[in-house]
């Protein structure tokens, strides 16, 4: 077994050595460096294109999916090795994709054979960029209240209504979408899960500006959009189970937010540089306390994630605790940016200009206010903890 893994590690190392372009061996600096793939995507460089093509062919953009659907077919141990080997040479992810992180797992679990064959391989190769159609103007925290009606027309459905907070709605090639297929049933039991091409006639997309400025979020309007029946996934009116399954995935992704700045300078260090200290003690004693409280929580949270991972490895299932991770990670991230604003003082207020990179800090700070809203508000996460972990009534 160990020998097999050693052989595998060598294969991976050799393959990466031969196939990962030099330019792709450095961490992603900004949003612009990320490769999202899709029909309309403009590659930043030939290396970026090549890296996606090679990783896609190998199935390593979705390394643990079955090979029959284009995936890498790796087991847990092999996946770990691949990640380690990529980290070793600083290889950046070849593809960022909601298709891989969200839709794929749902299709593997709920899709029929034709759907898996049709959609999964292009996702692995990064040929289709997916947008998520969940929230509606009257269905935010109460997501199951979504109304967009899809009416049965025999061999297809006709969809109307609208979606909001659709990430990259204007760049998406296809959408996976929750729609209302039975308006008389209790709200959780009349929802279905459908896929459609964003080029289908009747779809209009409008980007949303946030308090922080431009955003990837969009509003999407449907006017008599025709969806072939083969593109409905899972059982009719049982789409809510798929939605919940996907939301769990999304939550786990978001919960690492609080830690994703691991590479960033620790706040205390930044404060010493900007504000200054005497005998190694920050010159602003109250800010010092605030930073210490934050860093204690940050370190405790990192250790808790480490412990959760070790428990999962030891066979304990994570369950609803992911809700608490989402809650705490996003609240931490908000605190971090509040403190960063405090530390940078007047300089943190700039909104335009080269010195501030067009007000990056101020905009990032404002953007974090959404962390505890998107993907389920903090209050909803606490409801889930109270109900599913603590077993409180109601």
């Amino acid at each position: 077994m160990r020998d097999d893994l050693n052989t595998f590690r060598k294969e991976v190392r050799d393959w990466l050595e031969n196939n990962c372009p030099e330019e792709m061996r450095s961490p992603i600096e900004s949003e612009k460096d990320a490769c999202w793939g899709g029909r309309e995507f403009t590659f930043q460089s030939e290396s970026q294109r090549l890296w996606l093509e090679r990783m896609g062919q190998k199935g390593w953009t979705a390394p643990d999916w079955p090979t029959e659907y284009g995936g890498g077919g790796l087991n847990g141990e092999q996946l770990k090795i691949l990640n380690q080997e990529m980290a070793r040479i600083n290889a950046r992810p070849a593809l960022f994709s909601f298709g891989i992180s969200m839709l794929g797992p749902a299709l593997l679990k709920y899709g029929n054979e034709e759907q898996k064959q049709m959609f999964l391989p292009p996702i692995v190769r990064g040929e289709i960029r997916w947008a998520q159609g969940y929230s509606e103007p009257n269905a935010g925290s109460d997501l199951a209240n979504l109304q967009a009606p899809a009416v049965d027309m025999g061999d297809h459905y006709i969809l109307n209504g609208s979606k909001i907070w659709t990430s990259y709605g204007d760049d998406g090639d296809w959408m996976f979408c929750l729609v209302r297929t039975d308006s008389d049933a209790p709200k959780h039991q009349g929802i279905s899960f459908m896929l459609f091409d964003m080029k289908t006639p009747g779809i209009t997309v409008r980007p949303i500006n946030l308090i922080s400025g431009l955003s990837p979020f969009c509003e999407v309007f449907f006017e008599d959009v025709s969806i072939p029946k083969e593109q409905q996934v899972g059982e009719l009116n049982k789409g809510w189970s798929i939605a919940k399954y996907l939301l769990t995935h999304e939550r786990e992704m978001i919960s690492w937010t609080g830690l994703s700045k691991a590479g960033a300078d620790p706040l205390g260090e930044t404060a010493m540089e900007i504000i200054g200290g005497t005998d190694g003690i920050l010159d602003d004693s109250i800010l010092r306390t605030d930073i210490a409280r934050f860093e204690v929580d940050e370190m405790a949270f990192a250790l808790t994630i480490e412990r959760a991972r070790d428990e999962v490895k030891a066979g304990v299932s994570l369950g609803a605790v992911s809700s608490w991770f989402k809650f705490f990670g996003t609240e931490l991230n908000k605190q971090r940016y509040n403190l960063l604003m405090d530390i940078h003082g007047n300089d943190a207020l700039a909104w335009t200009g080269e010195a501030s990179d067009d007000g990056k800090l101020a905009r990032d700070w404002l953007r974090t206010k959404g962390n505890s809203i998107e993907g389920g508000t903090s209050e909803i996460q606490l409801n889930i903890v109270a109900k599913h972990i603590l077993g409180l009534p109601g």
């Binding site: 620790p266 205390g268 260090e269 404060a271 010493m272 200290g277 190694g280 003690i281 920050l282 010092r288 306390t289 930073i291 210490a292 409280r293 860093e295 204690v296 929580d297 370190m299 405790a300 949270f301 250790l303 808790t304 480490e306 412990r307 070790d310 428990e311 490895k313 030891a314 605790v321 608490w324 809650f327 705490f328 209050e379 996460q381 606490l382 409801n383 903890v385 109270a386 109900k387 972990i389 603590l390 077993g391 409180l392 009534p393 109601g394």
Partner: protein, 379 residues
Amino acid sequence: MALVLNEEQTMLRDAAKDFLNNRAPVSHHRQLRDSADGHGFSRELWSEMADMGWAAIIIPEEYGGLDYGYAGLGLVLEESGRTLTPSPMLSTALMSTSALILSGSQALCELWLPQIASGDKLISVAFEESSQHRPAMVDTLAEPEGDGYRLNGTKLAVIDGASADAYIVSTRSRRGEDPCEGVSLFLVPANADGLEIKTTKLLDNHRVCDFQLDNVLVSREQLLGPLHGGCTILRQTLDRGRIGIAAEMLGIAQETFDRTVQYLKERKQFGVPIGVFQALQHRAATLFGEIELCKSVVLKALQAIDENSDEITLLASLAKAKCGQTANLATAEAIQMHGGIGMTDEFEIGFFIKRWRALNQQLGDSRFHLARFARLQGY
């Protein structure tokens, strides 16, 4: 090391849980409080605990110990926090034992460790000289006298000091630029001439003592570790004690939280269990998370001691600060959510906040450790 318990540790925890629930639940603590006992804990119970091996968990086998490691000791302390079981676990089995082992003074280890392991002797560490935790402030003097030393000064708030057979005392043996340089540790028998001991009963019914050293003579053999080199041993001992206290506070937080969640499901007002109210649900859910953070921090810190990691000091302050804050929140919320009954002496929930208050203060409160954490991180 993975942040999960191994099989041996799980067994030890289960055994501790069983024993403490059967032999020393919270009612045992109440009984002691209401009796004429002057120690704050039961010597008979300590003998039983020693028979279970708990006094010897971190003692090396060569001195009659189990060499089970601090992670094991931490589990017993955590469980004692749940039952509020008073014992010299922290003062003797953790701190004094650590000081002896860390000192490398073989003769003293040979003399004392087997007697600690068997539960026969108790030792407390005496390091405070003011109402605040200032272990680097050492004004008790040690001056050469014949073949040994003459000690003069005052020590305060010595944990379990009323019952100790001996004290490990920090003294100033030389003055220099660095207050840490020139500290020496001595092992002073409780019956030494010139030692005047005054006992205080604390709010949690534990006993501490203040003592005056008036020309107390000690021999060279009673020096623990190198002359003038006691500061590091003391710091390492205190860090181990801090992590142990954090484990006990974690037990306190978990027990009060479990009892409170249960109460939220049972107590009815307005015709429904009060646990349906979102104002209470969200506070309970938040507290759940804070306790999860403490579990990780305590386990990591205990493992760090066993691995002799260079992060022990940082993790000790992290654990003491975080668990102090969380046990504060847990015990205060427990009283608030229990309402009036939580304020009564008849109900046990209020006992936990008293123990928390003492533990939070001892070996440095949350503020002390936040400041220390910041200093260690360079700001």
